[in-house]
């Protein structure tokens, strides 16, 4: 089964990206191993400079020098032929092509990847920088692997309260996730768009996602925070909080999961998503936060 979601604006580039996977050589000489929220990853790259950049980005206590089974990522920068035009796709397409029983090719605007289920390895091409290609690839790759660990990457902004606990703000694009961070003054923001929630010791914790959004590293990505509230944002002429029905809360949380386009994700794994959502909502209800687009919202939340 193949899938393409949204019109492709640049079909020539699209074909070039697919051919890059077979034309590029993925070297297995240099790698860096780390655990991303307990997911063991061995990251190979043709670019030594990029490996160093990744090493600097990953917290020291996430480095993994043990022998063991890793999820293997073979990275290569785009070749010279396509380097400048690689991200030149104006649509936010997601294309998936199943090559055979074990291999799937995925193309997004800023990365192309070939995943082999049997070897649990993926070849990936994106610019050797810590920008959208890196973020989108890792978010696509990691999101399904987080669910069985009772963790999930969420489209949300997270802002710390004065007591150090976190307010999580959910909502579709344009709802105000970034706006509310811009109104937050001196308060600490984790990420304005992508954060990771985890159930740890029966409590809900949140971490900066580190894989997308405007992430100013005010807080390292291995720092966790207790959750105070989960809000669904709705812009309004007044500030206020409304209760939401159980099914609406479930739906909003589902809609906020990053990268739900998980082809091949089995029904049993979908059940794990429902189970995780149940557990999250048992710990914290989601309420609707009507807010005015000015600093009064923070006076309201502080009070």
């Amino acid at each position: 089964m193949n899938g393409c979601f949204g019109p492709i604006k640049n079909k020539n580039l699209f074909s070039l990206k697919i051919s890059e996977l077979s034309n590029n050589i993925f070297l297995k000489e240099n790698s860096f191993s780390f655990n991303f929220h307990s997911i063991p990853i061995k990251f190979y790259s043709n670019s030594l400079g990029y490996l160093e950049l990744i090493q600097q980005y990953i917290p020291k206590d996430w480095k993994n020098e043990e022998l063991g089974v890793f999820n293997q990522i073979y990275h290569s920068p785009p070749s010279k032929d396509i380097e400048l035009a690689f991200d030149d796709e104006t649509s936010s397409i997601v294309f998936e092509k199943i090559i055979d029983n074990s291999t799937t090719v995925t193309i997004q605007r800023d990365f192309v990847a070939e995943y082999n289920q049997v070897s649990n390895s993926v070849k990936a091409i994106f610019h050797p920088e810590l920008n959208d290609g890196f973020h989108n690839f890792f978010r696509w790759y990691l999101s399904p692997k987080l669910i069985p660990l009772e963790k999930a990457m969420l489209h949300c902004s997270v802002i710390l309260k004065k007591d150090g606990r976190a307010n999580i703000f959910l909502g579709p694009s344009g709802a105000g996730k970034t706006t509310i961070t811009s109104l937050a003054g001196e308060r600490i923001t984790l990420s304005d768009d992508m954060n990771l929630v985890a159930i740890e010791n029966g409590k809900l914790a949140v971490y900066p996602g580190g894989v997308g959004g405007l992430y100013k590293p005010q807080v390292a990505i291995n720092n966790s925070f207790k959750v105070a509230n989960i809000f669904w944002l709705k812009q309004s002429s007044k500030n206020g909080i409304q209760a939401l029905s159980p099914i609406t809360q479930q739906k909003f949380l589902l809609a906020s999961l990053a990268n739900l386009n998980w082809r091949g994700f089995s029904a049993s794994n979908q059940d794990l998503i429902f189970d995780l959502i149940d557990k999250v909502l048992r710990l914290h209800k989601i309420t609707e936060l009507e807010f005015r687009k000015d600093s009064s919202i923070w006076q309201y939340l502080d009070s």
């Binding site: 899938g3 159980p246 099914i247 739906k251 589902l254 386009n261 082809r263 029904a267 979908q270 059940d271």
Partner: protein, 99 residues
């Protein structure tokens, strides 16, 4: 599929989807076919739940007519019922049961 054929077919919920009944309303998670979540309304949830119990479609249709008799025109109920079934089939949320 013609309406008469529909009524003679046994349908089941596609095994590729997951779903939850939340206070009588159905929420469907469908990451592999339509890559989305669907919230069914009250009547949709009733039809879906009965199909999950493998209740014959004819019985589901009759139950709906009995429930909404006096409030809605029977023809209107039948038209909406078959339209809804076709939507579920097109979205592959339900599939014919293999014998």
């Amino acid at each position: 599929m013609e309406n008469t054929d529909l009524l003679q077919t046994n349908f089941i919920i596609n095994e590729l989807i997951s779903w939850r009944d939340i206070d009588g309303q159905i929420l469907i998670l469908d990451t592999s076919i339509n890559e989305s979540a669907h919230e069914l309304n009250q009547i949709g949830s009733y039809i879906f739940t009965e199909i999950s119990r493998e209740t014959p479609l004819l019985k589901i249709k009759e139950a709906l007519i009995n429930t909404y008799q006096g409030q809605l025109d029977q023809q209107e109920i039948e038209t909406d019922f078959f339209q809804y079934l076709n939507d579920l089939i097109v979205m592959k949320i339900i599939t014919p049961k293999k014998l």
